[in-house]
Symmetry: C2
Subunit: 337 residues, 2 copies
């Protein structure tokens, strides 16, 4: 039987690390998850992960040919192959690629989860035919991956695309980064909770959300309340979308993208957030950009394996690029290898 | 005698159009200017320009080999080779590249003046060794050229890099684009005049600037007053730099550039504007970007022929790129042509 070429995609989260095998077409063959245990050193996570993976997969099923390993992780830097002092991890600076190469003599790439999601959208999601777009992840914070000419925009040091930290409001909400008014203090799962608390203080409407403490409230509660017509919850979604739309009008003036794709838990709230996002984006666009930017929800998220697909796509995209160069050279009569 | 390869660089301005011949090393061999006469059709400008150029240069000096024509123009679109309804021109939509190709069977490229200046900085100015930077032109308005991996970022429709129209102040000054608070209503030659009028109304300090009407006042008057220690003028420069620095902190969060290069009349005011620009940029940067972005004044502007050099660089950059591909192919034994 012919072996199936697969990439191991790994998504390192604050609580759990998920991983799985993905073939070139984005089919997922195996997946699993282990606790990240972010208080222990990174070596510990990789040792447990590869131990599990080797015993469950590599040692058993010989019809998989592993061709590379793609990793999504917080504070990852693709230039250095590093994961650098991720917040809430006790890791410090980790030479992630070197660490993984000690286990496997294969190509290894690591970048942050928003860039991973953007590459995933190009390979398997909404951006298969897009050259220029912005991907926004709405999780605890707001992450972004910017694509220019089908390449992730990394910038000078690999830190481009921190749209969670553009200033959405001068002297606005305090941000963990030490500044004030950053977009992610408004447009994220925690941002919408902060908005609900602001609105509970401002309006007199009855709301089931008045029964939650700040520490109890989650964006899921707000979503459920909104579905039942809770006015505070609906206003909070509208405000979140508006803040996002206004801020992204400035991003469009930088990048002239064909679409903005939103990803992550809050993206599942769909029209609750997208309606006001679209309206406020359009209202704030320079005339030359009007009606030229699509707002889409992630195509990856339709799969249960979005994070694994994205991480694997990091490697598959490079492999496909090499293959197309080899093809081009063959056309003009040059053999490689 | 060997002929010298030259590119014709053309800079189309609202009042005058300057043009000249530039060799690969950025030496300027001939230059001239004619009135643009923006009330007449574009055909008229090109006919006069090429008539002058042919009779003064091509028909006389046979030791020039013309290899291409680069054009900087307002509202130019490189994808379509067009100049599209530039404000204060009676041109409408002009197929500029096609129009020029009727005169010469040569490569012709057209883009806006900020992109032209950015390419010029890469070829002949401050950015010879830079992969990622932002160029800002401070003229009547604020233009920008964004460079990613040594390529101009054009985006989906060729309209990327409109940093003059990011919102610097919600509900701020009215902009010609129909919106409010755009960066160029603060940071530009007209922006600083508006600031002086705001400050004249706010402060009681004596100032020579109190003798000018709004229609009389120019940024040059403000510059001269600042040099003499005029407090209103000094404050206006500080405020202009601050608005620019704060807005560009958001651009850095998008692009992670190695430098921001400023170009145009207001850039000549040097430290008057750059000091507060730097301070306010640094103060507003996310920690990961701090002390990583240089602020520089244009290297092209040291020449008297900045606009011509930039326009010619559009073509020279493409020629050099082709030459390096040919060299690479030769190395592996492939002959081209």
């Amino acid at each position: 039987m012919d072996s199936v070429q697969v990439v191991l995609g790994i998504d390192i989260g604050g609580t759990n690390t998920v991983f799985g095998l993905v073939n070139k077409n984005g089919r997922c063959f195996y997946k699993n998850q282990i606790p990240t245990e972010a208080n222990l050193p990174a070596e510990n996570l990789f040792a447990r992960l590869f131990n599990t993976f080797n015993s469950e997969v590599l040692l058993k099923r010989e019809n998989y040919e592993l061709v590379g390993i793609g990793i999504g992780a917080p504070s990852a830097n693709i230039y250095r192959g590093s994961i650098e002092n991720p917040s809430n991890f006790n890791w410090g600076y980790v030479d992630a690629v070197k660490m993984v190469e000690q286990y496997y003599a294969l190509p290894v790439l690591v970048t942050n989860d928003a860039n991973v999601a953007a590459v995933g959208e190009m390979m398997y999601g909404r951006a298969k035919n897009m050259d220029n777009f912005i991907l926004i992840t709405l999780g605890t914070g707001l992450g972004s991956g910017i694509v220019v000419n089908r390449k992730i925009l990394y910038g000078k040091d690999g830190f481009a695309g921190e749209l969670g930290h553009v200033i959405a409001e001068e002297n606005g909400r305090y941000c963990n980064c030490g500044r004030r008014g950053c977009l992610e203090t408004y447009a994220s799962a925690t941002g919408i909770c902060r908005t609900v608390f602001e609105f509970l203080s401002m309006y007199n409407d009855e709301s089931t959300l008045r029964d939650y403490s700040f520490n109890q409230l989650t964006s899921k509660h707000i979503f459920n309340a909104a579905l039942k017509g809770d006015k505070i919850a609906l206003l909070a979604f509208e405000y979140t979308g508006a803040k996002l739309g206004i801020a992204l009008a400035n991003s469009v003036a930088h990048l002239n993208p064909e679409a903005i794709i939103i990803f992550g838990g809050l993206a599942r709230s769909g029209d609750l957030i997208i309606g006001s996002m679209k309206d406020n984006l359009e209202k704030n666009l320079l005339p030359v950009y009007k009606n030229s930017v699509e707002i889409l929800t992630s195509g990856l998220m339709e799969s249960e394996n979005a994070a694994i697909l994205g991480a694997a796509a990091l490697i598959w995209k490079e492999i496909i690029k090499s293959e197309s160069i080899v093809q081009e050279l063959k056309k003009i009569g040059i053999k490689t290898n």
